[in-house]
Amino acid sequence: MNSLANTRMQVRLQLRRTGFELDVDLDLAGHGVTAVFGPSGSGKTSLLRAIAGLEPGAKGHVAIQDEIWQDDAQGLFVPVHRRALGYVFQDANLFPHLSVAQNMAFGLKRVAPQQRRAALDQIVALLGIGHLLQRQPDTLSGGERQRAAIARALATSPRILLLDEPLAALDAARKAQVMPYLEKLHSELDLPVLYVSHALDEVARLADHLVLLEAGRVSASGPASELLTRLDLPLAHGDTAAAVLSVRVLSHDPDDHLTRTGFAGGTLIVPQQAASIGQTLRIRVQARDVSLTLQKQSGTSILNILSVTVTALSPDSPGQLMVALDAGGCPLLTRITARSARLLGLAPGLALYAQIKGVAILG
C-alpha cells in the first residue's frame, strides 16, 4: 500500500458506527489528484469528513506534510477551523445569506494576510465565475454553485483541497459543464486534491492516484493508470473498463483533421486537437475498442496499431475474457471472447498487435 512516490499525507483512521466501520491506513501523494473511489456506503464521504475533522467519532492519526492534525495517541485534535484545508461539499453548501463574492470573502478574511497565497482574480478566472460574483446562491444553477464553492475553498489558500462528489448532484449536462474546470484546476494549480467519487468516468478523467474503498476498508491504492487496468480489481472489468494514457502531441494534420501523438508504447492518431506541439493529453482507451491480431495488419481502416505483450488474462462476463496488455510499459485492456483467446493461443508473455478502434480525449 505504500507504492506511491512522494508520500506526503498520512491518514490512519477508525470510525465505528452501528452497522458500519471505517478502518483505513493510507499514505497519500502530496501532489496531483487522488481519487477515493468506491460504491455508495463504502465510507468515502466519512473518510473525507474524518480527514477534515468533521467526524468527532473518528480516532487515529492525520498528518499533512509536517503538520499533525490529529493524533489520538498524543490526545491531539486540531479543530476544523484551524486546519488549512479547502472542503467542497456535495451540494456546494454556499451561505444562502451571502453573495458569491461574500461567500469567497468569508474564508479569505479569516486567513492571516501572511498566509494568503491564492490570487483571487486568478481563482475567479480559473472557475469562470466573474459574472456571478454579485449573485445570490439561490439564483445560480447547480454547476455554477459548485464552481463558486470550489472558488470559496481555494480563496483560503488551503494546503489540500477535499472534494466530496462535487458532480454527484448534477445532471449529465451540468457535469459536462463543470468537468473542464476541474481539469483546469488539476493542470493549473499546484495543490494536492482528494476527490471522492463513485463515477468511473470522473476518476478516469481526473485521478493521478487512486484509493479503492470497499465496506470501509482500502482494497487497493496506487497510480490510477495502474489500478484501472489491474485485473484483480473490479475497475478493470465490465463494459466501462478502460486504460488511461498520457500522450504527447507530435504533429497536426489539418487536411485530415487528425493529430498525431506519441507515448512510450508508440504513436496514436486522434481527432484533431486544439493543443500545441509537445502538450500532454490524457486519453482513454476502452477495453471494448481494442482488438488483437498476431500479425500486423495492412489494408485495414484502423489507424492505430500498437505492438504489445500480454501480461495477464482474467474471466469477465460469461464467454468473455479481459486481457491486460503492456505497450512500452503502459497498460492497456482489451475484452475479447474466450474462443478468440483460445484460437490466438493467448498467454502471458505473448507478443502481438493491438488494434485500437477509437480513443476518447479526456483533457
Partner: protein
C-alpha cells in the same frame, strides 16, 4: 383620565419591550442548546420551557407570588440582596412576564436554529470560522426570521397578559397597572366607553402585529440548494 390611559399604555409598552429584550438575550443560549442537544434532558428542559403555554396564568402568578413573597426562596434572596420584595413592583412584573412569555421567544428561536442545521456550521468551520465567530456571522443572519417572530410574539404576548399581572402586580396606578388591568377596571366600574377605547386599541394593535409578522416572514423561504 387621559393620564391614567397614558400611564397604563407607557407602562405596558415598557414592560413588553424590556421583557422581549431580556428574553431574546437569555432565550438565545437556551434555544441554541435545545436545538443542538439530544436525549432525555432536552425533553425535560423543553417541557419546562413550554409549561407557560398550558398553565393557567393564575397558576403561574400564584406560585410566583409565593416564591417571591417574604417566606419564598426568591423573596428571601431578594431581601438578602437588599432589593426588597418583588411582588407589587415593576421588577416583579418583569420577572413574571419573562416566565409567562418564555416559550413564545424560545420556541421560534429553537425552530430557526434547527432549520439552519449542521451544514452551514460545517461550511463555516472549513472556512476558518471558530464556533463563536460562526454563531455571529452565519447563525444569527440565517436565524433573522426566527428572531423577528420571537420578538413580535414575545412582545405581543406580554402586552396581552392579565392573570399573572393581577396575581403578582396588583393594580397600582402608574406602577403595575397595565392596559389589560385598566380595561378590567373599567368594565368592573361599568365604564364601557372607556373600556371600548382601550380594548379596540388592543385589538387593532394585535392584528397589526400579526399582519406584520405574516407579511414579513413568508413561509417556506430560505434553504437554498437541493437536499444532500
Amino acid at each position: 383620565m387621559p393620564d391614567l390611559y397614558w400611564s397604563a399604555v407607557t407602562l405596558t409598552l415598557k414592560l413588553a419591550s424590556l421583557t422581549t429584550l431580556l428574553l431574546l438575550l437569555l432565550g438565545t443560549p437556551v434555544a441554541w442548546w435545545l436545538a443542538r442537544t439530544r436525549g432525555w434532558f432536552k425533553s425535560t428542559v423543553g417541557a419546562m420551557v413550554a409549561l407557560p403555554l398550558v398553565l393557567p396564568p393564575s397558576v403561574i402568578g400564584f406560585y410566583l407570588l409565593v416564591t417571591m413573597g417574604p417566606g419564598g426562596p426568591i423573596g428571601r434572596m431578594t431581601e438578602a440582596l437588599g432589593l426588597g420584595l418583588l411582588p407589587f413592583t415593576f421588577a416583579g412584573l418583569l420577572l413574571g412576564s419573562m416566565i409567562y412569555s418564555l416559550p413564545f421567544v424560545v420556541q421560534p428561536l429553537q425552530n430557526a436554529f434547527e432549520t439552519i442545521g449542521e451544514r452551514p456550521l460545517e461550511a463555516a468551520a472549513t472556512l476558518r470560522a471558530s464556533p463563536l465567530d460562526t454563531f455571529f456571522s452565519v447563525v444569527l443572519p440565517l436565524a433573522r426570521p426566527g428572531y423577528l417572530s420571537a420578538a413580535v410574539m414575545g412582545f405581543a404576548h406580554t402586552v396581552g397578559e392579565f392573570g399573572v399581572v393581577l396575581m403578582i402586580g396588583g393594580n397600582i396606578p402608574g406602577r403595575t397597572r397595565v392596559l389589560s388591568v385598566q380595561i378590567y377596571d373599567h368594565v368592573e366600574a361599568l365604564e364601557y366607553t372607556q373600556a371600548h377605547w382601550l380594548a379596540a386599541g388592543m385589538l387593532l394593535f394585535s392584528f397589526a402585529v400579526l399582519l406584520a409578522l405574516y407579511t414579513l416572514i413568508p413561509t417556506g423561504r430560505r434553504r437554498s440548494g437541493p437536499a444532500p
